[in-house]
Symmetry: C2
Subunit: 138 residues, 2 copies
DNA sequence: ATGTATGCAAAAATTTTGCACACTG
DNA sequence: CAGTGTGCAAAATTTTTGCATACAT
């Protein structure tokens, strides 16, 4: 898995360094992370390095930002993690992973319909999870 | 249209004030806005007030944040603007509005399948627009 | 060996907060 | 009039940058 990063950075003429390996590994372990969490967890590396690493990763398409449950999160892109989307509970923040091939295909079709060559998409569904629905009733 | 805001704030026991009206009107005029743009454009009001207004609007569900084309944007929620999604060109940033009822319905169905009471969703599709595809070929 | 990435320290930019006064309802 | 919202000023936090040194290739 770390091999993937190595190969990818090499392909793009970028060095493979300890902070970059660390950030990548962290993102693999933590599905949803924020920049602050990363800079805090990275005791061995400087904050500035984390920011620079994230900028590089964004530019290379290794990660992307998204807002889920009102928070800005950092996530590995589909190239480095299984393609998926989230269903988030607006009350307790619980997150489920969802995937639905028909929708994925249809989104690509819509892009094409507008003359676009689709490269990706993101879906965020929100609602009240079953537990919170029960609590709400009481 | 401004009437909508007034009524909504009243319902939630919140005062209708000049800064709040102004922010709301600005969001109606500018489909995609950033906080910085708002604080800069708001020459008559203090930055702090804009931040406080946005927090209130978020809490009341008048606006929501989203990341599109790599930028964090502020947008009116469906209650205050026609429901829609975006198709963004990763090269030139062009944005088209898209809507597809079947997908909307299917997303609700997926939420229900997982025991969620769906309250909303967001879709962001990215790709290369026709113009940029042509340029890329040359 | 050479060029790039990092750490450190400082600066810039963004966001939050306290308090006295102004305005809304 | 009473209570809440605002402006202002300051603090806290987050993000960016310059430069000398360390590291990757």
């Amino acid at each position: 898995m770390d091999q993937t990063l190595k190969a990818y950075l090499r392909e793009h003429n970028q060095s493979v360094t300890p902070p970059r390996r660390w950030v990548f590994a962290y993102l693999q372990k933590h599905e949803q992370t924020t920049i602050t969490e990363l800079t805090t967890a990275a005791t061995d590396f400087d904050r500035a390095t984390i920011y620079r690493t994230l900028s590089l990763f964004r530019k290379l398409g290794i990660i992307h930002d998204l807002i889920s449950g009102g928070r800005k999160l950092i996530e590995l892109t589909d190239q480095f993690d299984a393609h998926h989307h989230h269903l988030t509970c607006t009350s307790c923040g619980k997150r489920l992973v969802i995937a639905d091939p028909p929708i994925e295909r249809r989104l690509d079709a819509i892009a094409e319909l507008h003359g676009f060559a689709p490269t990706g998409h993101q879906i965020e569904v929100s609602g009240l999870c079953s537990d919170c629905r029960k609590k709400a009733v009481k």
